[in-house]
Structure formats: structure tokens, C-alpha cells
Symmetry: C2
Subunit: 271 residues, 2 copies
DNA sequence: AGCTCTTATGAATCATTGA
DNA sequence: GTCAATGATTCATAAGAGC
């Protein structure tokens, strides 16, 4: 059993990860504080400083991640003064120089995006999810994220709300397995690199909760039961809740004690 | 009437555009030969050489584009040796340095993408469409690309909810706001920056034809009737056909005489 | 079951003003 | 100039209740 396991730690992941065992993590799933967003919550990282702020931390990610592990990064640049920021591109290229292999970019297409109308752009309805690895060969379990084809299933599963999951869990006790079993013999298909998910509804006491279906997808895709999932910017705890529900171990880190409290509370209440 | 108008020209756009009038083009829509793709057709541009190959040509684009014009670039990096190439990111950043303003990235989500299965990734079902301009203010006609709205609007408008009324009262302070009034009779909605278009079916005698819906969308969005649309890598002629169908002028350029023949044939047959 | 109606809400962006 | 803060403006959808 790893030293730090199934806990939420308050602190900067830069220092906290120093104490975590080398090559002990199977998957890192995270959504860092975006540059110029969450200024009140995180103090704000200027877009020009974002890459240099991130790199020392991603170096620690390299340290604790197993050779066959994956690093999933959810991020999206904003628009300022009529132009899109370029720091996300700069970050990806810097991560490649740091030793990461950029395997894929998934698109998280948000069904319900924020309102607004502007003279020069439409509403932003997608975010990027980058997949990095340490090696060309890595663990991937594609069968565990197969989606059913056909209308009846599409409408049932296009949105995996926490509530749906809870219902399935309580009925069967093991999350997805029952559903998967039900679909055997029906038309199943592999997903593509575009994910259609609604943003989470419901108050999570955190300004930027991503839908649980997002970590859920990548945890099932890149880990097996009992593996360790790390989120170095745990926020409201969604990644940890998802890992726990799927029978994985979790390690959550956040610099704000307030966030850690929210995450711990959600883990206790399993929601 | 511009000198070069409603024609397809065989040649390298680098030299051809030298003869085109300064600031005469309202919109550039193109899908360049991707690096390492279409090697037989174009002789192949190595990923490492792609940016330096492109930049002299995009400089000519700056020359012929009107100050209020837009440049729409459809491109997607491939995967090699298990990793995504970075030349698209490098190109975007180089274009910014060249003077272009990066306004937006649209995601063209391909409904019916190519089948296939690989050990380390799923099927690639999106392409990038970058929107660049010369100025912060540019021509944009958002109303011309509105899409049909769902049924929900009708019922809502029949009987304005108490909450809608309250929200607008507090916002405006005088009973009915004009916001709600704007919705009455509206059955169309603005799109987002994720476009759901099917890929073209049917052989167009060209290996990388994009669906006509793609240039159609951007031509309607960024030009009005009679404007001039340029595609410096016209390929099978889709951009020109779309422009003609929408009552715009077109100028198509391709280095391969074979492509120009196909484009001319399609224009004549209007398909 | 299916239909109608109600409610909730999401990492937004731009123009303007003032320091 | 440049930068920061503030206010104005703005949709489309899912899910649930009720009939």
C-alpha cells in the first residue's frame, strides 16, 4: 500500500509530491487553475507566467507516475482583447521538451455552455483534454469505456450524472459493471476522441467543478481496480470521488484548505 | 471588379498572389496540404519544414486580404510514432508573430469519421478550424448562420415563467425587458464554436475534400453577397463551388493542374 | 407513457472607466 | 500608454414535476 493513499492533503503539490513514492501513481487526472481565472481563489497566475509556474510541478508528476501511467490534463485558454491566449500551446510544447509524450488531444464538448453574445465570436462550448505518457507503450483498457449504440442507450447514457451513478451503484454495488453486462450482445462501439458531456449541475461549493463523467471516463480507460489515481489540483474533489466509486485508490492535493474540506465532505457522503 | 475573379489558376499561390490586387479579398478559406499527407500529390512537406513552407504564403494572404477580412484555416496534425505532431501549434504561434490575430479555434466535429482501431488511441473525429484576422474589428454576419432551435422555446414563450420575469425585472427595473421580447417569434439560435457536420460522401477526384458545409458556414458568416473568397489550395474546388452557390465571387489556386481541372469541372456542373 | 411546462445553471467576454 | 476593476449583456439545454 502506498504511503499516501486515499487521503486529501492540503499543500502545494510541488512540495507534497516530493514525499510521495517514486513511480507509485497509475494515473494523474487534473484540471489546474487556469491562467487569469479563479484569481480570488488561487491568487491568479498571469498567462505569461503559467508555463513556468506549471513546469516544476509537472516534473514532480513525472517523478511519481509509473512508466506505464498516463497524465490527463483538462485545460482551455480564454479570450482577451479579442484574441485567444497561446499559453496552452506553449505549455504542451514545453511538456514535450520536459520528456512527456503527447499522445492525444480529446475534445470535451459541453452541451450546456455559458451564455453570452459578442460581436466577434460565438459561445465557447469545448475544453481540451490532453493525454500525455512517459513511454510509447502504456496501460489502456479500451473495452471499459465502450458505449452502446442505438437510440435507447444513447439517450440513457449521454449524460452520466452523479445521481445516475449512485442509482446503479446502490443497485449493483459495483458501478459500471452491471450496465456493461447488460449491453453484452448488443451493439457496442468504441468512443472517439470527442466526448459529449454536459457540465455538472448542482452546487459543489467550488467554482469550476468538472462533471464526474470526465474523470470517470479516463479512470476507467487508463486504470484497473485498485490502481492509484492522483489529482494534484483536486478542487472540489471530483476526481477522488470518481476514483473511489470505481474502486481505485486516490490521492488529492490542493493548496487551499477550503477546497480540501469540500473534497473530504464529498468523499464521506459519496456524492 | 477585381482583376482575378471567378477563375481557377494553376500555380503556387506564393507567386500567383503577387499579381492579385492588394486588399481585394474579403475572406480566405482553405485546407492546406497537411504535412506528411498527400505526399504523392504535393511532394510531401516534412512536419519539421511545414511552418517555414507556410509562412511565406501566409504573408501573401496578409497582402491580399482586406483589413476587415478573415482567414479561415482548416488543419489537423497527425500522429506519428504514437505521438501527435506539434507543427500545427507551431504554425499558429508563428502566424501570430507574423501579424495575424488569432481570434478563435472552431472544432469541426466529424459525425462519421473513418473507422479503425489502434492500441493507444481512439478514432480521430475532429479537425481544427482556426480563425485569424488582421484587425480586432472585422466583418461578421452572425445572423446568417443561425441554426434551428429546439422545441423548448415555443412553450416557454407562450407563458413567460415567473423566474424569467423576475430576472429581467431586477436587471432592467421596468417590467418586461426587451431581452425576452427579442425571443418572441424566434425559432433560430446562434451556433457555438463546435460545428457538427457530416463529412462529404462521394468521390470528388481529390483525396482530402472537406464537406461543402464547412466553407458554406464560414462564407456566410464572414462575407456578404458579391464579396470575394480566396482559396489558395483549392484542391477539388469545394470552396469555389460554395462561394458560387452563395452568390460570392471566388478565386481558386492550386499547384496541380489536375486539381484545377476537377475544380473547373465541378464549377461548370455546379455540384 | 408521453406530453407540457417550469426551473436551474454553466471555468464567459467585451467595452468602459479610472488609476 | 498600460493595467485593473466594474458593469452590461447574454443562451440553450437537461431534468423534473405535473397532468
Amino acid at each position: 500500500m502506498p504511503k499516501y493513499c486515499n487521503i486529501i492533503i492540503t499543500g502545494d503539490c510541488l512540495s507534497v509530491l516530493q514525499k510521495v513514492d517514486l513511480s507509485s501513481v497509475d494515473l494523474i487526472v487534473t484540471s489546474p487553475p487556469y491562467a487569469e481565472k479563479r484569481i480570488k481563489a488561487y491568487g491568479g497566475i498571469h498567462p505569461d507566467k503559467f508555463v513556468e509556474w506549471f513546469l516544476p510541478r509537472s516534473e514532480k508528476f513525472l517523478r511519481v507516475l509509473k512508466p506505464t501511467g498516463s497524465f490527463i490534463l483538462n485545460i482551455k485558454e480564454g479570450a482577451h482583447n479579442g484574441q485567444r491566449q497561446t499559453y496552452v500551446m506553449k505549455l504542451v510544447m514545453a511538456l514535450c521538451r520536459q520528456g512527456w509524450l503527447w499522445v492525444e488531444e480529446y475534445i470535451w464538448c459541453k452541451k450546456n455552455c455559458a451564455p453570452g453574445k459578442w460581436p466577434n465570436r460565438f459561445r465557447d462550448s469545448f475544453e481540451r483534454v490532453y493525454h500525455f505518457t512517459k513511454q510509447k507503450k502504456f496501460s489502456m483498457y479500451q473495452e471499459s469505456v465502450m458505449v452502446p449504440m442505438g437510440d435507447w442507450a444513447k439517450s440513457r447514457l449521454k449524460n452520466l450524472s452523479a445521481r445516475d451513478r449512485r442509482r446503479d451503484d446502490s443497485a449493483v454495488g459495483s458501478g459500471f459493471s452491471k450496465n456493461i453486462a447488460n449491453w453484452v450482445g448488443r451493439d457496442m462501439a468504441y468512443p472517439t476522441n470527442v466526448l459529449h458531456l454536459a457540465t455538472e449541475c448542482g452546487n459543489k461549493d467550488h467554482p469550476a467543478a468538472f462533471p464526474i463523467a470526465l474523470p470517470d471516463f479516463f479512470i476507467r480507460l487508463f486504470t484497473k481496480t485498485g490502481d492509484l489515481v492522483l489529482d494534484p489540483f483536486i478542487g472540489s474533489g471530483t476526481t477522488a470521488v470518481s476514483a473511489k466509486q470505481l474502486g481505485r485508490k486516490y490521492l488529492g492535493i490542493d493548496i487551499l484548505a477550503k477546497n480540501c474540506l469540500v473534497a473530504k465532505k464529498r468523499l464521506k457522503e459519496d456524492r
